[in-house]
Amino acid sequence: MAFDKMELRDIEVWDGNFAAAQAMRQVQIDVVAAYPITPSTPIVEGYAKFLADGYVEGEFVMVESEHAAMSGCIGAAAAGGRVATATSSQGFALMVETLYQSSGMRLPIVLNVVNRALAAPLNVNGDHSDMYLGRDSGWIQLDAYSPQEAYDLNFIAFKVSEDHDVRLPCMVHQDGFMTSHTAQGVKTFTDEVAYDFVGEYKPMNDMLDLDHPVTHGVQTEEDWHFEHKARQHNDLMTKVMPKIQEVFDAFEELSGRKYNIVEQYDMDDADVAVVCMGTSVETAREVAKEMRAEGIKAGVVGIRVLRPYPFAQIIEALKDIKSIAALDRSSPNGAPGMLFNELAGALYNTDSKATLSGYVYGLGGRDLTKAHLTDLYKELQANADAGKVLTPLQQFIGVRGPKLTFL
């Protein structure tokens, strides 16, 4: 069975979901096992239509749950070929068991996660609760802030994940609806260029190498379990970041589009900085520019690679900052926010004298407005001037009722 190439314009108007689906088509995945869930469904639907129209040659297995989707992906990846799927929110939560299994079995699988809130109460809109839920699962996590980035980071994800020194699965995150359903101009590759960048899949320990049987998913108890987990952590800590940088560089050479492990905007001379992820980065960049007209030297740091955690790059980005805000789009449910904790962890043993305050925002798709960020930057400037945090350490912004603050 032959499959057809698709002629794309240099710039297509795509939303984040379709951009991800197109990238999945262009890398010629061998097996997609998937289950639909809002807001990632159009990725799966888009891929199904490519199959129906003869643009895809691989197998598309529509399973009965997200748990089965990742289970099927694990079986397919262990068999030896390129594998990917997509999910969101509750589906992601249902997959969690298999996320640990796939990474522990060192299987390169790409998972597009269209970020959405976690019930209860049920909510279909974007926040980062699912992304946070996956952060200890042993996967690489890349965050796209726009449809263009959702497209680009898919190619990068396959190339990093399938590298034989890495052999770890990779998530590509994008914000539910804000990115997934918002159409923007996306610069495209031809099918040949896209495929050649990722390259042909090179199997390793593949079950389908029938002359060399392999055992996948063994039992280890107190005698070996720790060594396996430590080895996986070691590879995440030492091998993955250099590989991501290498692939970012190669991608820039190919496309002219530059990605950084930690993105910095207006940070060269900044006094105060907001650290955030997803579509909020773009809002913060606009506000930072406006703050500069008011005399506040504002900057923005966007986390591009959430896992492995960019410890050194965070320290470098924030070393001269006087006042930092960590913006968490997930309810910490009884703790400081994840970014707050992880920034504090990175900066604690450094010479930084920066103040650090945490903000929880945007849960269940609530807007983060420019007005919110304007107030926030002013608070940061006041903290910088005073040399200490003048507000509570944790504030909820954009929530109804009396101001919610903690710590």
């Binding site: 096992a33 691989g58 079986g75 397919a76 298999t98 029938l210």
Partner: protein
């Protein structure tokens, strides 16, 4: 279609090259290893295997060792069927793309216990069968969660004492009848569903070979007598298995294309159910006066089921 392996006699069969090694940690007397060998030895084709979490898995792939001389995967408790389905999908994709390292068609087999099949893995198996993957799912049916110490599953029969449905001062143990998985899987339209027992090895090999020749998802329910949880001496595995098949507690039959039922073994001398029960510690309490009525009820249930199977066979439905 590959050539069916010819098997003349037990000696030849039992000495053919093993892809499941005797070096494993299963209990002495465990029927699992007999079943697995009978399945694997029924074909000369390549095999891609999975095991759900359970006795078979924890006893055969303890790092850095493996008992498997065929590709094998374990993911979790519930998803062994889907693991093999994913591998089968990859085989299809790579075959179509001309990227198979060896252009051969292996058999895809998932092994799982009754807990991993009747209970926690039920949805995954149903999904695999609905989608029609070319695979065989073999249940190692010992009617209990044996790996974790004998908790009841939906395959545990009435009156059995399990650790989560123990017999006690006011209880005779498990209260629910065993789930009829064969009927459920036949209703999926599976090309071949069969109940087998390792003591009837010729019958079993025939069923497995029939399953391997079928196109689509095949369901095999293999009775696996458990020395530890059924509570009998390790050397009595085959004797207990004979009591199970000859008392018709485990009738051996097949259902073809979800429709045509054939009885595949008719004992020459049918043994009373009571003899089967009396041989196992898990039913010991049933022989107290207050619970003897349960033995009578059990015999009636077995008679009724046998009658039903015969009527279906006669009617060819």
């Amino acid at each position: 279609m590959s050539e069916i392996k010819k098997i003349k006699n037990l000696k030849e069969f039992s000495t053919s090259a093993d892809r499941f090694e005797g070096a494993n940690l299963l209990c002495p007397g465990c029927a699992h290893s007999i079943i697995v060998r009978e399945v694997l030895n029924a074909t000369n084709d390549d095999l891609i295997l999975s095991a759900a979490t359970g006795c078979l898995e924890v006893c055969t792939a303890v790092y850095p060792y493996t008992s498997w001389d065929a590709s094998w995967i374990h993911i979790g408790f519930e998803n062994g069927s889907t693991a093999v389905a994913g591998a089968e999908a990859m085989h299809k994709a790579l075959k179509r793309k001309g990227r198979l390292k060896q252009d051969r068609d292996p058999k895809f087999v998932s092994f799982a216990g009754d807990g991993a099949s009747y209970d926690i893995g039920f949805q995954w198996i149903s999904g695999c069968f609905e989608r029609g993957h070319n695979m065989m799912h073999v249940v190692l049916d010992n009617e209990v969660y044996a790996n974790t110490g004998g908790q009841r599953s939906s395959s545990t029969p009435i009156g059995s004492s399990a650790t989560t449905s123990p017999a006690g001062r006011i209880s005779y143990g498990e209260k629910k009848n065993k789930k009829d998985m064969l009927a459920i899987m036949a209703a999926h339209g599976s090309p071949y569903v069969a109940q087998v027992a390792p003591n009837k090895w010729k019958n079993m090999i025939k069923a497995i070979q029939h399953g391997f020749e079928a196109e689509g998802p095949v369901f095999i329910n293999a009775m696996s007598a458990c020395t530890t949880e059924w509570k009998f001496a390790p050397e009595d595995t085959i004797a207990i298995s004979d009591l199970a098949t000859d008392s018709l507690v485990f009738p051996l039959y097949e259902i073809i294309d979800g429709q045509k039922l054939n009885i595949t073994y008719r004992p020459k001398n049918v043994v009373p159910v009571e003899e089967y029960l009396a041989a196992q510690g898990r039913f010991k309490h049933l022989f107290k006066d207050q619970y003897k009525y349960l033995i009578k009820e059990w015999q009636e249930r077995v008679d009724q089921k046998w009658d039903y199977l015969q009527r279906r066979e006669e009617a060819s439905v």
